[in-house]
């Protein structure tokens, strides 16, 4: 079997290159293949170009609808969107992801980086970049600055307030928050049984949208209750954070 396999799958014998006078032939033949390949790849790309613009068109349509703008343009966009969406050929279905990979991931992704770098007044740090992409980075930074390194922090419960909105990212998830809070430790309200050792050692509580004051062992007057804060569990801080 091995013999048979190697016979079938061996590298095509290297063709001896044409002699000196045939260099031109060699070059034009290579060029012809390059041309065919280029046309093939470009055709696939062009075939999906409109699909790639679908999101932009949809956004433009939504903006026009909300602002009550140009009716004629809206009609054009509607027709174009319907035309693109109704083209559900199998070939297109299999190839449109490549357009996304090339244009959105590679080209737009790198252009976006160059754009950000050119606009930045100083070289961007990891923290600058995290602040751009993690919605609650500012709040996380505030927690870190207002708690000692050995703090054990109560995180808010993963209820409808926190988990149904992207505003709070995964603030209720101890495994996610631990990344930002280390060397501090954290435990989520309602999930104390997952981390019983930590639940006994909690030193601070995160307050969001005014919730979490019930975990404190002291009373905070209603008028002094901040909507977002991190507070010590056992005794009030010398200064209540805003």
């Amino acid at each position: 079997m091995a013999k048979q396999q190697s016979k079938q799958t061996t590298t095509p014998k290297k063709q001896s290159p044409p002699s000196g006078g045939d260099t031109f032939t060699y070059l034009w033949r290579n060029a012809a293949i390059v041309l065919v390949l280029g046309i093939l790849l470009l055709s696939i790309d062009r075939m999906n170009a409109k699909d790639g613009q679908l999101q932009d068109m949809y956004q433009e349509f939504q903006q026009l609808r909300q602002s009550g703008g140009n009716e004629q343009r809206m009609e054009e966009l509607r027709n174009e969107i319907i035309a693109i969406q109704s083209d559900t050929s199998y070939l297109k279905k299999l190839t449109r992801g490549y357009y996304w990979a090339v244009h959105d991931i590679a080209i737009k992704g790198s252009e976006n980086v160059r754009d950000l770098e050119s606009k930045a007044v100083k070289p961007m740090t990891r923290e600058d970049k995290l602040a751009m992409r993690i919605g609650i980075w500012g709040f996380i930074d505030y927690i870190n600055k207002n708690t000692p390194k050995d703090a054990v922090i109560y995180l808010p419960e993963g209820d409808t307030i926190t988990s149904n909105t992207s505003k709070w990212n995964y603030i209720y998830d101890p495994e996610w928050m631990q990344y930002f809070l280390y060397p501090r430790l954290c435990v989520a309200m309602g999930r104390e049984s997952d981390h019983p050792d930590l639940a006994k050692r909690v030193t601070h509580a995160v307050i969001i949208q005014g919730k979490g004051y019930d975990k404190l062992k002291y009373e905070v007057p209603l008028e002094q209750r901040a909507q977002e804060a991190v507070l010590p569990i056992n005794q009030p801080p010398s200064q209540t954070p805003n």
Binding site: M1, A2, Q4, Q5, S6, Q8, T9, T10, T11, P12, Q15, S16, P17, P18, D22, T23, T25, Y26, L27, R29, N30, A31, I33, V34, L37, G38, K93, L94, T95, R96, G97, Y98, A101, V102, I105, A106, I107, G109, S110, V113, L116, E117, T125, R126, K129, L130, R133, I134, P174, E175, W176, Q178, Y179, Y182, L185, C186, D194, H195, D197, L198
Partner: protein, 478 residues
């Protein structure tokens, strides 16, 4: 310092490569050096952890330099025999330049550059990497050990039970002062492309190999991971190298592929445990080979190298981490039609480019995610079956046609069926995720490992070999 650490890693891999053989292409040297070097770095970190020695720049540099010099020293006399194959000097003649391959190569380089710019700019941002990989890596670099303090509180994340290769690789660059660890993603991606190209080139020539490397690289969902910090792309690098080297050894009997296949297969289970499905499939191939050749020595060597890291990590989890993920599966479910519908629905959509959603949630478009990858594989398979039927009808050599690509088919089907069953029997309660969610994310990302295998099958099929031979004849005017 990060650059020095990466160079040390490459040199270490290179020293191992030169111990195995003295004849490599440039693509092989770059591709395999990193995978082997980084794999060994993580073994260093593992054994330092076992020995209770805190890993630091000094300790790691010392180990690197010592091991590299020791390997080169042992191998010193044979180093003179080293040769690059193909020799880059041959490309100085215009008629040895394969222009179509270079054209495709330029597209690959440009796309690689674009995605790398994006990858190296952004810090890790994915939920899984915050929850596990990057967290483990950062804390590992601070605490200088594998079993970081977070294990004591159950805050290590789901990736805490994964073998350490990926997060320890990120930890390695953090130890040497990296602000961001994603150079690791880029280098794993580079190795995958170079290795796939080089092994495929040995079967169908440079033009065909570069063409299939481009399609592999651009598989939409896979390509998007080249800018992320998740473990699936690095895992694919090892599965690609292990699978293709094993197949190349069985086909061509070239000694270096045996050792590369075995070592890489060992690293496959040193980066993820669920990739044991590939090790099992490879052992099946080795078993079949043993029945034919009775070469028990090689079978045992390969099996030992491939399985040992899995056993070592299982023991480490049991005795050091005290976390054995034993009840991960629920084999008691037997045939559950609801589970079957969901698992099969998602798998079909990924493989055949269809759409699927579970009760209107977790909707996927398989065509958008994997492009032509699996569809092309099944079309090629169908054509090959028809071809065999025709050969059988005409009483020609149909047996040869059946056996010619059997190894790669066994590797694919044995591993895929195991992978499918792994998800079918998975215990949702232990995973704390519904099955649709696991199929929507984990299963999808795990399919990356099959991409080099299916593209290799397509590339080395009769039709492809015939087509690229014709084009090559035209190109060289012979």
């Amino acid at each position: 310092m990060v650059a020095a650490a990466i160079i040390l890693c490459y040199l270490l891999g290179l020293a191992v490569l030169l111990t195995i053989s003295r004849k490599y292409s440039l693509a092989e040297l770059i591709g395999y050096s990193f995978l082997i070097g980084m794999g060994i770095e993580t073994f260093f970190m593992f054994f330092l952890d076992i020995a209770g020695i805190k890993f630091s720049q000094g300790v790691l540099i010392g180990l690197n330099v010592f091991t590299t010099l020791a390997l080169l020293g042992v191998n010193f006399k044979k180093l003179k025999e080293f040769e690059l194959s193909p020799n880059p000097k041959t490309f100085l003649q215009i008629k040895n330049i394969n222009f179509p391959a270079i054209f495709i190569g330029c597209i690959i380089v440009w796309l690689f550059y674009c995605v790398t710019v994006k990858c190296l700019f952004w810090p890790p941002l994915e939920r899984d990497t915050f929850g596990s990989f990057d967290k483990l890596a950062r804390v590992m670099a601070v605490e200088g050990k594998l079993k970081i303090s977070l294990y004591a509180y159950g805050l290590e994340g789901a990736g805490g039970v994964y073998p350490p290769l990926y997060h320890a690789a990120m930890g390695y660059v953090y130890i040497f002062g990296a602000e961001l660890p994603k150079i690791i993603t880029t280098l794993f991606f580079l190795s995958t492309l170079l290795i796939f190209f080089d092994v495929t080139r040995k079967y169908i020539g440079a033009m065909g190999a570069s063409f299939f490397t481009l399609i592999l690289m651009l598989t939409p969902e896979y390509f998007s991971h080249a800018a992320l910090a998740l473990g699936n792309l690095p895992t694919t690098a090892y599965v690609c190298a292990a699978g293709l080297c094993t197949i190349a050894w069985l086909d061509k009997r070239e000694e270096k592929f045996f050792w590369l296949g075995a070592i890489m297969m060992g690293f496959v289970v040193w980066i993820r445990s669920d990739t044991i499905v590939f090790t099992a499939a490879a052992l099946l191939l080795l078993g079949i080979n043993f029945l034919r050749t009775k070469d028990w020595k090689r079978t045992i060597i390969y099996g030992t190298i491939a399985v040992a890291p899995f056993v070592i990590w299982a023991l480490y989890l049991k005795f050091k981490i005290h976390n054995v993920p034993s009840a991960k599966f629920d084999f008691g479910i037997g045939f559950n039609s609801e589970r079957w519908t969901v698992v099969k629905g998602y798998a079909d959509a990924y493989l055949f480019g269809g759409n699927y959603s579970f009760n209107s949630i977790g909707a996927i478009d398989g065509g958008q995610l994997f492009g032509v990858a699996f569809v092309l594989f099944f079309i090629t398979l169908l054509i090959n079956v028809i071809l065999i039927g025709v050969l059988f009808y005409k009483k020609q050599d149909w047996k040869k046609a059946i056996t010619s690509q059997m190894n790669i088919l066994i590797l694919f089907f044995a591993s895929f069926v195991s992978y499918f069953l792994l998800f079918y029997f998975i215990d949702e309660k232990v995973q704390a995720s519904p099955i649709w969610s696991l199929m929507y994310s984990s299963f999808k990302r795990g399919l990356f490992c099959f991409l080099p295998i299916v593209f290799f099958y397509t590339a080395t099929s009769y039709g492809s070999v015939w087509l690229f031979e014709k084009i090559e004849k035209f190109r060289t005017a012979s």
